[in-house]
């Protein structure tokens, strides 16, 4: 594990040059230019601390968990369960048994939909989500509502990309069985007032799921302070491996939830007449889990914690401010999403040029951005767009990289006039 690149005294400030040495993938060329990786909202690059943790598992501890009496299996089990504890600590949960390992944020939402909401959802009931949800927090609810004859209700957003709280309050009703809302919008960067939203829902006895995929890498999350009922996130958006995610659920909810998938590890005993299910969280972890993923995920969170999320947030906030100003100075650029509070996601369009053409030209200059609907087509439709360009910043991005982005956009203007 590398030493955190934080100054010795005073408020923690990121030493970006040093941070960058922790990420091998950043040091390569793309189309003959130094790689400028600004697609962090899609996935982040991985620090050596994560790569080494995964490698160490395979080189030393590789075996299955919760099964073997032998030494390697014991070590693997300890590492896997320690990873659970690391995630619990990072998001401020009170009990490791409230952390369920999943494949992804998407799976976490599907799990809550199937095991918590389905049994209590009746015809005429409502599920409430927002306009700025990722498809992963729309489609599972659509499927469930269709199956149960329930209705999916949508909280509107204003032109800046802020949730309209007064409308939200009006939409909450005795029929609402769950609120599912994104903490940070992947398409707009909006940081939603989830604490207030949870309070409003709880005042009416409605449980709340927070999609925290984009929150985890950017600022400290405390699920107990938020008082959310469920919080879902992914490892790979926060410098960890792909294929691993976590679901936090309040213990009292998890205890009453039915299994999600059947299989090994989620049972206490099985006969052909019936099965006794294991306790949470194991009840929801059928089959051999992504052991190295969990270990890598925990290593990523330790890496983030070592730098201090306040320092990360301050650095990224400065990058966003600088990038917004610089990009808006390019002729014809229009910002999409100007919420009061934003994470380091910069979505924009350019007059007369389609986002995909911008993406291709930026790529030819070594600048990697996302161009498209960001798996959030309804929010694109809200702005009358089919796509935007999205530059999203991570703790290892530098101001020089903003210059490269702007230089790339000027090339776009040269080509398209």
């Amino acid at each position: 594990m590398t030493t955190p690149a934080v100054t010795a005294t005073g408020p923690a400030v990121l030493d970006v040059e040093r941070v960058r040495t922790d990420f091998p993938a950043l040091h390569q060329e793309s189309h003959g230019h130094p790689l400028v990786y600004l697609d962090n909202a899609a996935t982040t690059q991985k620090p050596l601390a994560v790569i080494d943790a995964v490698r160490t598992f395979y080189e030393r501890d590789c075996s299955n968990v919760h099964r073997g009496v032998h030494l390697l299996s014991q070590r693997a089990t300890v590492a896997y369960e320690q990873a659970r504890t690391a995630i619990k600590n990072h998001i401020g949960a009170g009990d490791s048994r409230e952390i369920v390992f999943t494949r992804s944020t998407t799976e976490g939402i599907n799990l809550v939909a199937a095991s918590f909401v389905r049994p209590r959802l009746e015809a005429g009931d409502e599920v409430l989500i927002s306009t700025m949800e990722h498809h992963s927090n729309i489609v599972p609810w659509q499927l469930l509502c269709e199956e149960r004859g329930a209705t999916l209700k949508v909280i509107p957003i204003d032109d800046d990309g802020d949730i309209m709280l007064d409308q939200y309050e009006e939409l909450l009703s005795e029929r609402t069985k769950i609120v599912g809302v994104v903490h940070v919008s992947n398409a707009l960067g909006t940081i939603n007032p989830v604490r207030e939203m949870i309070e409003l829902a709880h005042a009416r006895g409605v449980p709340v799921l927070i999609d925290g995929a984009q929150a985890l890498p950017h600022f400290a999350v405390d699920v107990r302070e938020l008082d959310c009922d469920f919080f879902v996130c992914s490892g790979h958006k926060a410098y960890g491996p792909t294929g691993i995610g976590a679901l936090y659920g309040k213990r009292e909810h998890l205890l009453e939830m039915v299994p999600y998938q059947g299989g090994g590890d989620m049972i206490l005993s099985v006969t052909f007449e019936g099965t006794t299910f294991n306790e949470p969280p194991h009840r929801f972890e059928a089959g051999t889990p992504n052991i190295e993923g969990a270990i890598g995920f925990a290593a990523a969170l330790r890496y983030l914690d070592a730098h201090g999320l306040d320092a990360v947030a301050a650095h990224e906030s400065q990058l966003l401010t600088d990038a917004t100003e610089a990009v808006l100075a390019v002729p014809g650029v229009r910002l999409i999403g100007s919420a009061r509070y934003k994470a380091s996601v910069l979505s924009f369009v350019m007059e007369g040029v389609h986002p995909h053409d911008i993406g291709t030209i930026l790529d030819s200059e070594g600048v990697a951005v996302r161009a498209g609907h960001h798996c959030a087509q309804p929010v694109m439709a809200r702005y009358g767009l089919s796509a935007t360009v999205r530059a999203s910043f991570a703790l290892y991005n530098s101001t020089q990289e903003i210059d490269a982005l702007v230089a790339g956009l000027k090339k776009v203007r040269e080509v398209f006039g």
Partner: protein, 148 residues
Amino acid sequence: MSDMRELYQEVILDHNKKPRNCYVMDCATRSADGHNPLCGDVVKVYLRIEDGVIEEISFQGEGCAICTASTSLMTESVKGKSVAEARGLFEEFHEMLTGVAEEQGVELGKLQVFEGVREYPVRVKCATLAWHTLNAAMDGDDDAVTTE
């Protein structure tokens, strides 16, 4: 930069800015919708086919420069051609973008400007969406076609 000029040739930029045959055709005998779910590009192709000949062709849609220019140039190149000739042209066009063959059986004319797209595999579908949609319209296929 020179690479970008090869991809975004003047003809492409011109057709992107001023797409030809871009209107809703009221008297169409066939039409089809095309959609690229990866990027959200959508196109609708209208045809008036008489005696196996494409007498009139138009489109409506929204997409990137490659997609828009490709659709516009396609309408120009198949207008007045028989359905069979149009299909042959698509085969040649597709071959130019994805194939290994150096020789061409049919003269592609202006469509040759899309040769640069070969170098950008993720953009090939932008150039072929219109053609897939044209094929569906000629087949009388009512289902929307996708590039996937």
